[in-house]
Symmetry: C2
Subunit: 499 residues, 2 copies
Amino acid sequence: MADLPAPLDPAEALSRAAEAAPLLAALPRARRAAAMVAAADALQAAGDELIPIGARETGLPTARLTGELRRTAVQLRLLADVAADGTALDVRLDEADPGFALGPRPDLRRTRVPLGPALVFAAGNFPFAFSVAGGDTAAALAAGCPVVVKAHPGHPELSRRTAAIVAGALAAAGLPTASLQLIEGEEAGVAALRDPRTAVASFTGSVRGGQALAAIAAGRARPIPFYGELGSVNPVFVTAAAAAERGEAIADGFVASVSGSAGQLCTKPGFLLVPEGHGLDDRIAEAAGAVAGQRLLSAPISAGYASRRDEILGADGVRVLADGGVEVGADGVAVATPTVVAIGLGALVSGREHLLDEAFGPLSVVVTVPRGTPLTAAAALFPGVLAAGVHLGAAERGEPDDAVRDLVAALTASAGRVLFDGWPTGVAVTPAMQHGGPWPSTTADATSVGTDAIGRYQRAVAYQDAPAWLLPDELRDGADVPQALSPAGASAEWGARFR
Amino acid sequence: MADLPAPLDPAEALSRAAEAAPLLAALPRARRAAAMVAAADALQAAGDELIPIGARETGLPTARLTGELRRTAVQLRLLADVAADGTALDVRLDEADPGFALGPRPDLRRTRVPLGPALVFAAGNFPFAFSVAGGDTAAALAAGCPVVVKAHPGHPELSRRTAAIVAGALAAAGLPTASLQLIEGEEAGVAALRDPRTAVASFTGSVRGGQALAAIAAGRARPIPFYGELGSVNPVFVTAAAAAERGEAIADGFVASVSGSAGQLCTKPGFLLVPEGHGLDDRIAEAAGAVAGQRLLSAPISAGYASRRDEILGADGVRVLADGGVEVGADGVAVATPTVVAIGLGALVSGREHLLDEAFGPLSVVVTVPRGTPLTAAAALFPGVLAAGVHLGAAERGEPDDAVRDLVAALTASAGRVLFDGWPTGVAVTPAMQHGGPWPSTTADATSVGTDAIGRYQRAVAYQDAPAWLLPDELRDGADVPQALSPAGASAEWGARFR
């Protein structure tokens, strides 16, 4: 493929990124935004070329990839707007105040600046939306950081073509040529993470991989922030009322959420907690049996899924509701249909060591909670998840209920997103999204989806008594960005209303 | 001292904090704010008792401690207001949108919740403002986290009395009794940091101590965020024009900033960079010679300062401008007057290994920059500092100047705060303050002073399609807090203005 750029040496990539960083940071925000929109346009225009490559390399259906490419372009456009409008700069202005309670207060103006070269480890399960031009890249570019993407080995050709198209569009729109670069291979990724010029890194993948990379980032001579989105089992709780009122619809929705993209989503519901005697076993089995076999993403994922599935099927107290097969082909890649098992809460608690880790693929566990045991008792099994769901009965939705309140409080303590009467798969790309929760779902408090994702690539800087001409545009009086003004003399009043 | 509470076992403290955490989180924010104001009042009312204890234990002058106690109370009041007004919750509301570009968008509402038990390592150099009831404690309480303070060994009696007074006031105002607890000793601090119930930790102290604690926090089975404010040398740059226009005032201000609190401040200017031939040596020597001897905080700090001072005085190319003594008393605590040395930029670069680390105490280094070498050339020597200063001439203040612009760009890349025509000591407690910069000045992007300090003790949670009665107050329609609304249908417009 003569038209594909050769993968870069990581040191060379970081050297070029470090040179590009101050240039990119100094460009007007609107210029950066325009380049990101141009990149989104170029990406969508190349859909006919890219989608077939993605389908061949990942086995994902064309319809899914088409939607994902659209989402990826929308993410770039949304974050272009965030880059331009200045909200994410969190501008704060203190007026000078000679009468301040603690002595004369200077003129102080705070904004957020790009951290510098960002290293993005691409994911395998979203070859567009969490890969070369995905959410992390969009957020880092919006912040003003040049990006070095470590390609995922699952879709190398798609990664190179995407990088060529997006980097080309960014450069044609006037950004430094090193604003987006691609490196390949685990060794190159680790070398880039150790490179002193790398200022921040983000990762989407397994707990084990993320933990290893987080340790490298923390152990550098100059540690850097590392944002890992790791494993999550996303439990969904069904109250007795909900099961009674619309159990069959819940069973169908559950199977659809478990089996979409062959269960290879970080938000797949790994556990469904239902009151004992729910009577939905047959419906779940039927729905699961109606799902056609789907190819898994790769040979390593197929092997991991098959072995994890065996481990779960062999655990004490596990009963099979739907025995989806895993047929491994000559290339090591499996075709799978959904496997759903059931277990009692007590057996799950005893077998927690083997049962509670994520199973990446179309498998989920239905947990029956004994009558009389509150659903909340099961919540502590899941201390850190991206999302947790609750299905409520109509009366519970309508008015306060102590058991529901306790359950939601417990889930709030362990999840980044708590959702109702729906499924955790499907993550809206919006300002209010939170895609990140307590360990091990993520390594740090942050979101990797939505507008707040930009914050991971910035840090705050305050300017004290600076001449106006030296201030960044957004800190000047009356700049066209949201500015939070601290009124003069406020300190004398602080807390007064509570005395 | 029978009336002092016995120091707690760390496991017992964390057990009580973990029980208190959900109770504290569930209290109305105004209730938490009122309790913090009550604590501020109680602290100030106890000034006549506390200040003499602090003076005896730390050797800091009464005037300084009086001001610091006032600042500590103001911090509590400011953060009480932040707790109550809801700005720091960063509330974001997405309306449901069936016509959203990427498929139906749910109703999504995001707020920030307390992380849980917070471990605060108190500092030795601010026995009120960065100790038991200091900025970290105020921020954590404002976020809704119970606090376990690891006392600094430099002021044990003051720590116990402060804890008793503040914990008593918080409990009397209706907060859980374990909202503020004290533990003592290095071993207890490390055990608390390893305790699985600890959710976040913050620290103010040395690079070495902070690095060791950061590694413990990162190496836990369940890693937690660790916010360390470590060492900083806070360079101040003087342009030729500023030196010519008001060199003597700068020399005097420099010595005052270096010698205040005997130089034991994290914002002490450790380096003054001036153009060669500045002619201020005598004025600096004279100003330094006029400063009376001051007792250092403790025997370990005295020993550390004396040895660091010897190392600097013995380095190649160092010339003494003011030879402040260090007289160590029988108790190991020294009395010191300011030591100021001079060195050429070239010699500093060659001796950087020995010269660039912080000297904690009343010592600073004047660096002469050869005529023709831009000041910017020296900026790269200081890659991570809390603050950096620039003194400008009147013309440079008035209109754009490329050399100044380049210098400020370089300092923006390495400092949390860039200040003009002043000194880094003196940190305003306000919304726009940023007290935290690149490594090694801090371990993570955050501020430990000002209203944004609260963010270190919170994480974001989104509620999707939740019944109104289950939402936290601040997420309900029309709640009395700032709410950022995402308009429906926006995605179709994203980026459109840049196409």
